[in-house]
Amino acid sequence: MIADFGYGILVTALVVALYAAGAAIYGARKPSARAVESARRAMLLIWPLLTVAALALIYLLVNDHYEVEFVYQVTSRSMPFYLKVTALWGGQAGSLVFWSWLMALFASAVTLRNWARDREFLPWVIVVTAITIAFFLAMVVFFENPFARFWQTASGVDAYTFRPAGGLPVTPEDGRGLNPLLRHPGMIIHPPMLYLGFVSFVIPYAFAMAALITGRTDDRWIRITRRWTLWAWLFLSLGLVLGARWAYDVLGWGGYWGWDPVEISALMPWLTGTPFLHSVMIQERKGMLKHWNMFLIILTYDLVIFGTFLTRSGVLSSVHAFAQSAIGPMFFAFIGLTLITSLALLFWRWPDLRGETEMKSLLSREALFLFNNLLFLSILVVCFWGVIFPLISELVTGQKVTVGPPFYERATSPLWGALLLLMGIAPLSAWGRSTAKTLGRVLWKPALAALLVVAAVYFLAGVRNVVALIGFTLIAFTGFVTLYEFWRGARARQKAHRESLPLALWRLAGRNRRRYGGYIIHISMVLMAIGILGIEVFQTETQGTVQLGEALALDRYTLTYTDIARFDVPDGRNVTRAVLQVTRDGKAVAELHPRIDYYYDSQQPMTIPGLYSTLADDLYVILVDWEPASAVGATFKVFHNPLVNWLWIGALVFIFGTLVAAWPEREPAYVPVRAAATASGKA
C-alpha cells in the first residue's frame, strides 16, 4: 500500500516538475506573469511531494518491508535504526530519490528569494532546475523505481512496479543488508554532503543559463549566486574530505585516496568549481573572462550529473563500466543534450560576453588567476584522460590499456605544486599591472623564512627526498606569504585606527570577509598539503606474525600483542579483536584494537584498523589473520603515516574559512561612508 502510494507521489512530482518547466517557458515567451507565478508555485510543491515520497521509502526501510526490492537489497533485520534510515542513499534507486529531494529543496529556496530586481531570470531558473529534477524523477519513475515489489510469476520471482498478470506477492524473510563497507557512521554524513555539493552547483548554472537566454549578460547572475557557489563548494569539498577520512578508517589499506573512477568523478566538478569561484572575482572586478566563467559553470553542471551517475551506478573500478545499469545511456543522453544546448546558448551570446578590458601584464592579478584556472583545468584533463584512456586505446589499437594511480600521481603532482605556488603569489599581485620588482618587494621576507624552514628540514631533520624538499618549500612559502598578509593588514589597521593587534586582525577580517576567508582557506590548503606530503612520501610499513607477548617495531613505536578474542555481537557480526600495547621510545602511549568484523548476512569480513593518532604521525594497525585452532599466532600489518593528521586539521580550518567568506555581509552601503569618514578625518 505504502509502496504504491510512494510511487504515485513520485509520478505526481514528475508531472508537477514538467508542468513547472512548461508554464515557466510559456510565461517567459508570452510574456505572462500569471504563468510564471503558476510555475513558481508548482516548483514550491515539488519539495513537499518528494518529502512525502522519501518518508514513505524510509518508512518501508525501517519497518523491514522486504517485499520491496530496494528495501531487500539495502537493509536487513539486524541493522541498527540509523543505518536503515541512511540506506535511503545506500542503493541507486533511493539515491536518485534523495538527490531529487535535495535538488527540490534548493530549487524551492531559490524561488523564495526576493526577485524584485531580477524578475526576468525567474522563469528560466525555474526551467533549468525543474528540468533537472524532472530528469532524475523520470529515471526513478521509469527505470529505477525504489518502490518496485517482488512478484511470483510463471517465469520466476522478479520485481515489478505493478502486479504482473497472475503475479503473487513475495515477501523475503530478511533482506540482504547494506554492503558492509557502507555500515559506518560516515554513511550518515558523507553521501549527503557530496550530494549537497552536487545539487547546489545547479543553482549558479541555472542563473548562468537564465543570463544567456535573457541576454542580461552582465555580472548580475554572478553576484546573485556568489554565496550559493561558495556553499556548494563547501559541501562538495567536505564530501570529498569525509570520503577520504572514511576510506582511511574503513578500507584498511592505510590510505585515503585511491584514484578510482568514482573518486575521480566526484573530484572533477570540484576541479571546475574551484577555478569558477576564483575567476568570477575577475569578472566582477574587471569585466573579463566572461566566456570562461560561463564555460566553467556549464562544465561543472555536467560533471555533477556525471558524478551523480558514476558514484551510484555500482560499476566502479571495473573496466566493464556503464553497461550493467539501464539508466547509463539515459544519463549520457541527458549530459550530451544539456552540454550541447548550453554551449549553443553560449556561442549565441558570444559577442555580448566580450571582455571589457585586456590583460596587460603576465604578473597581474587577473593573469595569475587565469593561470590558476588553466592549472585546474589541466588537472581535469589529466583525470578525464585517465578515465577515458581505456576506451580510446581499445578503439585505436584494439588492446585495452588502463592507467592506475601512479599515472594520476605522476601527472598531477607538478600541477598541484604549481597551484600551491600560485596560491601564494596571486593574492599579492596587483590588479592591472604588476612587475617582478613590485612582487619581489612583498615576497622576499616570506621567501626567506621558507628557505630557513627548508634548510632546517634538510640539515636538522635530515630529509633528502627531492619531492619532499620541493613540497616543503612550496608549503612553507605559501604558508608564510598568507600569514604575512594577515600580519601586514593587521599592522596597517592597528596604526591607522590605534587598535590592539588582535582587535585590528578581527576587524580587518570582519570587514573583508571574502578576502580573509579566502586566505584562511588558503592556509587550510597548505595544512592539507602537509598531511598529504607526509603520508605520500614518508609512509612506512611493516608486517609480521607474532605470538602472544611478542612485539613488532616500526619507527619509534613498539607494538606488543597481548590479547585476542572472538565473539558475536547482536547486529549480525562476528568480531575478532586483538589487543596491542603501544610504546613510543619505551613509554606506554596507547592500547590499540584492530579487528576483523565478519558479517553473517553477507558472508563478508571487514578489516577495521586500530589507530593511534598524534600531530606528528599516525600509527595504523590492521589485523590480517588469526586462526583460533593454530599455533602460528596473529598476523598484523602496521603503517606509520607521518603528519597525516594535518590533512584533517586542514579540513576543519577549511570549513571555518569558508564560513567566514560565506557569512552574509553587513549592508554594503555602510562601508563607503565609513571609509570616506576615516579618509577625511585623516586629512
Binding site: S318, V382, V403
Partner: protein
C-alpha cells in the same frame, strides 16, 4: 606584444600538460587482458604492466600468514560485456568458468593481507606482471562478488 606573451604562456602550459600526460601514460600503462590473451601472447608480455581479470577458483586459495603470501588460480572469463550479458550475467559466467576444467587457467601470487572479498567465484582484477615461470605476480588485487552484491564497492588492496 602582450598578446604574444599570453599565447606563448598558454602554449607552454599546454605543452607541459601534454608532456606530463604522455610520459605518465607510458610509464604507468597497464595492458588489460583476459587469461586466454595473456597465454596466447606468452613471452612477449613478460615484465610489462598487466591488468588481468579472471574467476577465482576457491579450492586453490592458499594463504601463508607468516610471509603474507597469497596464492590462487583464476580461470579465464571473457572481457566482452555483451558476451557476459548473453551468457546470463557476470555471476553465471564466473560460476561456469570455475567449473570448466578446460578453461585456460593462471596461477597468481600476491604478497599482503588476505583481501576480505577473496573467495570462490569472485571476479579478481589483478595488476602486476607475468614472471618467466608463467606465474602472475600481482601488486594490486581488486575483487568483486556479483553473487551477493550487484552493487558492491570492490575492495581495494594496495601494496
Amino acid at each position: 606584444m602582450q598578446r604574444m606573451k599570453f599565447v606563448l604562456g598558454g602554449l607552454l602550459i599546454l605543452a607541459a600538460v601534454i608532456w606530463l600526460i604522455a610520459t605518465s601514460t607510458q610509464a604507468s600503462a597497464e595492458y588489460f587482458m583476459t587469461v586466454e590473451e595473456l597465454q596466447a601472447k606468452g613471452e612477449s608480455v613478460i615484465g610489462k604492466n598487466l591488468r588481468v581479470s579472471g574467476a577465482v577458483i576457491g579450492d586453490t586459495i592458499q594463504y601463508d600468514p607468516e610471509t603474507l603470501t597469497l596464492k590462487f588460480t583464476v580461470a579465464h572469463v571473457t572481457g566482452d560485456n555483451k558476451e557476459i550479458e548473453a551468457q546470463g550475467g557476470l555471476a553465471a559466467v564466473l560460476k561456469e568458468a570455475v567449473n570448466d576444467p578446460n578453461r585456460p587457467r593462471l596461477q597468481v601470487v600476491y604478497h599482503g593481507p588476505r583481501p576480505d572479498l577473496l573467495r570462490n567465484e569472485a571476479q579478481a582484477i589483478m595488476t602486476g606482471h607475468l614472471g618467466e615461470d608463467g606465474i602472475f605476480y600481482a601488486d594490486e588485487l581488486l575483487l568483486k562478488c556479483p553473487t551477493r552484491y550487484e552493487e558492491a564497492v570492490p575492495q581495494q588492496v594496495e601494496q
